[in-house]
C-alpha cells in the first residue's frame, strides 16, 4: 500500500464515442470502402450495454436460494438501477424491516406483494409494512466455473 488509500471516485470508465472515430482507411484497390469499416477500431464495452445510468447503478452479490426459479443463484452479481421506477413484474431490491432483499414485485388481485421465486416462501403483502423500493434489477451476472 502507498501512503494512503487511493480512492476512485467514479466506477465507470469514460464512454467510448461510437462509432469510434478512427480515420477511415480504404479497402482493396478499387477504392470502395469496406463494409466492415464502420466498426473498425471499436471494442464492445459491457458497461455500454448493461449500465444505462452509471450514477444510479450499483452491483450487489446474492446469497440464498429463494430466487433460483427466476434465474438468480447464490453468488451471482445483480446490476441494480435506482433510476428506474418500479412496476409490477420487475425484480426489485427492497428494504424490508431494515434489511435489503430481492423479490419479484407483483400485483395479486388488489394487493401489491413481494414474491420470491420459490413456492416454499410465502408472498409478503405490502400492507402496514416498513417497505421501500431500493432499486430495480436490470440484469444478473452468472459466472460458470471454467
Amino acid at each position: 500500500m502507498t501512503m494512503a488509500n487511493l480512492i476512485p471516485a467514479h466506477p465507470a470508465p469514460p464512454a467510448l464515442a461510437l462509432p469510434y472515430p478512427l480515420a477511415l482507411g480504404r479497402a482493396g484497390l478499387s477504392g470502395f470502402p469496406s463494409p466492415a469499416q464502420d466498426y473498425e477500431g471499436r471494442t464492445l464495452d459491457l458497461n455500454e450495454r448493461f449500465v444505462k445510468r452509471p450514477a444510479a447503478t450499483f452491483f450487489l452479490t446474492v446469497t440464498g436460494d429463494s430466487m433460483e426459479p427466476l434465474g438468480i443463484h447464490e453468488g451471482d452479481t445483480l446490476v441494480v438501477d435506482r433510476s428506474v421506477d418500479s412496476r409490477p413484474g420487475h425484480i426489485i431490491v427492497a428494504m424490508v424491516d431494515g434489511e435489503i432483499t430481492v423479490k419479484r414485485y407483483e400485483l395479486r388481485g388488489e394487493v401489491y406483494c413481494l414474491c420470491s421465486g420459490n413456492p416454499r416462501y410465502a408472498p409478503i403483502p405490502l400492507v402496514d409494512m416498513e417497505c421501500q423500493v431500493w432499486g430495480v434489477v436490470r440484469s444478473v451476472i452468472h459466472e460458470f466455473a471454467v
Partner: protein, 427 residues
Amino acid sequence: MTMIGLVDCNSFYVSCERVFQPRFLGLPVGVMSNNDGCVIALSNELKALGIKMGTPAFEIQHLVRQGRIHLLSSNYELYGDMSARVQEVLEEYSAGVEPYSIDEMFVRFDGFAKDQRLKHARQLHRKVRQFTGIPVCVGVAPTRTLAKLANRAAKKIPTYQGVCVLHPDSRETQVLLKKIELGDVWGVGRRLVERLAVIGIKSAWDLAQADPKRIRRQFSVTLERTTLELRGIPCIEMNDFHEPRQRIMTSRSFGKLTGDMSEIREAIRQHGQRGAEKLRSQNSLARAVLVFLKTNPFRQDLPQYSPSLILELPRPTNDSRAILSATGQALQRIYRKGYLYQKGGVMLLDLIDAGRQQLSLFDTPQSDADRQRSEKLMGVMDELNRRMGRSTVTLGRPSPGAAWHLRCANRSARYTTRWDELPIVRV
C-alpha cells in the same frame, strides 16, 4: 435574472452508510476520523443526544457498548464515489455544477421561468434521492450568499420539505432574513458578529439594509459584498471567501483546453500548494484531499470526462509536502490521455483546528521532533513567500510517502468500488 442553487447532502457520511445498511435509518450513528479518534460526522439522532463534532470516541465508547449509539470508521472511498454520483445526477438535470465541498454543490439555475424554479428544484431534490439514495436539501436564490441561507432554511424549517427558492424582493425573503442570526450568514465570523452588534446590526436583514459604502469603510470589501449579496446582487465567485472554512477549494480553468499532463500536473501542484498555504494561514489541518479535472461540457463535439478522486491523508496535516504528494498521486490516477481538459482543482476536506493538540493523541502518531521540523519548514516557506512574493519558494516533485497503517476497526465495506466488497443481499 441569474439564479444559483446550492445542493447540500444531509449528514452526508452517515447517509452514505445508510444507503447500504438501512438498519441504521433513524438510529444515532456517527462516523469517526481516521484511526477512530473522534467523531467527524453525526446523524441528527446522534446530535440530539448532545454529542458534537470532534467528541473523542473513547468518551462515548460506553454508549456503543450498551448498543445505544453506533460508531463507524470513516470510509472515504465510499463517500468519494457517492459524492461523484450525486454530482453526476445534478449535471444531468442542470446547466452546470460547481462542487463546493464533498457534500455541497452549486448548481446553475439559468433559463428557468420564475414559476418553474420551484418545480425544478423539487425535481433535483427527488432525483438525487432516488438515484443515489442520498437525501439532500436544495436552496435557490439570485446570489450564493442567499442560496446558502435558502439551503439552511430548507434544512431547518420543516414546511419547506427540503426545498427553498428565494426571490430577492419577496416578503418570504424578508421574513427569513429577519429570523436569521448574523453568525449564520456565509462569511460572517464570530468576531464580526460582535463588532456589528455594536452599531446595531443584529440580523441578516439589518445587514442587508445597511449602507454598503459604510460597511466597506468600517469593515471590509468582503463584508460589503456580503451585504450586496443579501440584497440579491451577485458579487461573490467561488473562490472569494475569506471565512475560516470547513474546506478549502482552489481551482481555475487552464485558460485553454489542454491534454498535456505536465501542464496539468503543474497547475494541480500550484493549487495544492496554494491550498496548503491557506490552510496554514487559517491554522487548520486537513484530513483528506480531493483532486478533480473537467473537460468543457459545452464542447459536446469532444469526448467528455470529468473525474475526481479523494485521498485520505495519513494524518491531519497542513504540510505542503504531504498534501502535494497526495494530489500528485490522485492526479496520476485520474488523468487519462485523449481528453482536452478545461479546468482542474484541489479541495482540502474535513478541516480541523490545528490548535487542538489532543488530536495528536488519537490520530496516527507523529513524533514531536517530526512535527516541529515540519512546522518550522512550512513557517520559513510561508514567510519567504510573503516577503518576496508568492512562489519564491515552492516544492518540486513530491516524494512518495511511506507506508501507513490506519486503524479502521469499524469501517463498512467499500460497497461501490471493490468487487470483493459488494453489498450482499439475502434472497
